[in-house]
């Protein structure tokens, strides 16, 4: 694809036109084939539903709950992941004893633990935060370990030749060297935390977008569900954008790669 098209206002207009065409075809298709609204609602009623939900404040309230769970889970999970990952990367002994647990947990789909966690920690905020933290934990821990371990041997030797202490090697070399890996891990962890929160809400909760989706599903309000999905992807985009911004500031020296990975990651998230 040529860069002249993907850049600038012509490109933007083309993109918007394409979106409008798809929505128009969807609307026309649903009307023409008279598809029942509880199977596939037309875009017009999705947007109408979204508008009503936003005005009544019901979306905002539930989105706020889910966001809070996601942020708390993300913070808790990534902090633990960073601390544990650092301990594993720096100490053979810690690695030796934690390794069986890490292998076991890594292979397990963490969302499958959600029912247990809801049983243990109840229908409130705690179980959602813990589930989000659990799901967000692994990508960052693995990336922290790999990043800290990937310090170039020549650079380690250079610092050692100056009689640097182990901590100096950590602060001056290993940690900055791990930053690209850590940010890649944070990007994944942020979206994973959102997934963890929603899944835990599905299993059992009183508030949150997951609860909203389930009750709308129960009431055959498919248009409403689409509205929530839209809100969720906007939230996902914003969360991802926050990390990408932070990454650009911290990893200014890694600039060429930073822009590339953020583009490549988009479809996956």
């Amino acid at each position: 694809m040529s860069h002249a098209i993907t850049r600038g206002t012509t490109g933007l207009t083309l993109r918007l036109v394409l979106v409008a065409v798809v929505l128009g075809a969807w609307e026309a298709g649903v009307r023409h084939f008279e598809i029942a609204p509880y199977i596939l609602p037309p875009p017009s009623s999705i947007f109408a539903g979204l508008w009503r939900g936003l005005q009544s404040g019901i979306y905002i309230k539930h989105a706020g709950v889910t966001l809070a769970e996601t942020f708390m889970g993300f913070t808790l999970g990534t902090m633990l992941a960073f601390i544990l990952g650092t301990a594993v990367a720096l100490s053979r002994r810690v690695e030796y004893f934690l390794y069986p647990f890490i292998v076991m947990f890594q292979a397990m789909p963490k969302v499958a633990l959600a029912p247990l966690i809801v049983v243990w920690f109840g229908l409130g905020l705690t179980s959602k935060v813990i589930n989000a933290a659990l799901v967000a934990f692994f990508p960052l821990m693995v990336n922290t370990i790999v990043g800290l371990r990937s310090a170039d041997e020549d650079r380690v030797n250079l610092l050692r030749s100056l009689a640097a202490s182990r901590w100096q090697i950590f602060w001056m070399l290993q940690l900055p060297n791990a930053m690209p890996y850590i940010f890649a891990g944070l990007e994944i962890a942020m979206i994973f935390a959102l997934i963890g929160a929603i899944v835990a809400e599905f299993v059992g909760a009183e508030q949150g977008l997951g609860v909203l989706i389930q009750s709308m599903n129960f009431n055959l309000d498919v248009a409403g569900q689409f509205g929530v999905l839209l809100i969720l992807s906007v939230i996902g985009l914003i969360l991802n954008g926050l990390i990408t911004r932070l990454r650009r500031r911290v990893l200014f020296w890694d600039a060429p790669r930073a822009t590339n990975t953020s583009l490549r990651k988009e479809p996956g998230t």
């Binding site: 170039d152 020549d154 650079r155 030797n157 250079l158 610092l159 050692r160 030749s161 100056l162 009689a163 640097a164 100096q168 001056m172 070399l173 900055p176 930053m179 020296w253 890694d254």
Partner: protein, 276 residues
């Protein structure tokens, strides 16, 4: 005539003040083996030489003969498998603060500016930052990097990066400089400037320098003594005293004496089957 090529262990031509106080580096029967069993690589066998305090010694040898390995041992980065390496009379057991190392590649930190990279030893060893800042700027100017202090390594050419690593090795004014093909990535003209500057720094501050190179002419131009290594397993094949007067100017390479040294070293390399 000009110095003689001696086969190790036969001729007493090389003055070797055993255990003398002027002996800065002493390497005795040193061997190094990478790995064990069938996969073992014998990088160095029975290396034996000494470097006097304030002496400039060059080591030439074919690729893979263990020059970088020897330098890593002298820097205290790895212990020898056999034998000893002594620094000022005591065995080298680990890295020391008063050694400056220039590695074969620049080894810069991409998140540090040129200036901050040059100041790495200052940070590691907790030296006076203010005094060292002035010194860093002076040295950067000396190697032609004035105006690049705030740039990041990825904005520099390979030769410029190598010059930053040279400044970094010099900044804490170490008594001993270990240099592993430091000018390999430089163009001929910058290289010549660096030769003159290195000679000047060495003459002014009387450092002990061990300088590894692939270039016979570079070795002769810079050194008091050239050690010629054999192909792997590396040994010292010949030692040559370079008795050209100092300071040497660039056109010394056109003199007859210089040419004789170069031919002698080439002959020594060929004799051991290690043509460069």
């Amino acid at each position: 005539m000009h110095g003689t090529v001696e086969a190790r262990g036969r001729s007493p031509a090389e003055p070797r003040p055993l255990a003398s106080s002027t002996e800065q580096i002493a390497v005795r029967n040193l061997s190094l083996r990478y790995g064990d069993g069938a996969d073992a690589v014998h990088a160095l066998t029975d290396i034996d030489f000494a470097v006097r305090d304030g002496e400039f010694v060059s080591i030439v040898g074919p690729s893979g003969c263990g020059k970088s390995t020897l330098l890593r041992i002298l820097a205290g980065l790895m212990p020898p498998t056999q034998g000893q390496a002594l620094l000022a009379g005591s065995a080298i057991t680990g890295p020391r603060r008063d050694i400056g190392v220039v590695f074969q590649s620049p080894v810069l930190f991409p998140w540090r500016t040129v200036l901050a990279n040059a100041e790495v030893p200052v940070h590691v060893q907790g030296l006076n930052r203010k005094a060292m800042r002035a010194r860093a700027l002076d040295l950067l100017k000396l190697v032609g990097l004035e105006g690049f202090e705030g740039r990041y390594p990825r904005e520099l050419s390979g030769g410029m990066q190598q010059r930053v690593s040279l400044v970094r090795a010099l900044i804490h004014d170490p008594a001993l400089l270990l240099m592993d093909e430091p000018f390999g990535a430089l163009d001929a003209m910058t290289r010549e400037t660096m030769h003159i500057e290195l000679q000047r720094i060495w003459m002014e501050r009387r450092k002990t320098i061990v300088f590894i190179t692939h270039s016979i002419a570079e070795a002769v131009f810079l050194a008091d003594r050239v050690l010629v290594m054999t192909p792997r397993p590396g040994k010292i094949g010949a030692v040559l005293n370079i008795e050209l007067p100092r300071p040497r100017a660039l056109d010394v390479v056109n003199t007859e004496g210089f040419g004789i040294y170069v031919r002698q070293i080439r002959a020594a390399l060929n004799a051991t089957g290690g043509a460069l």
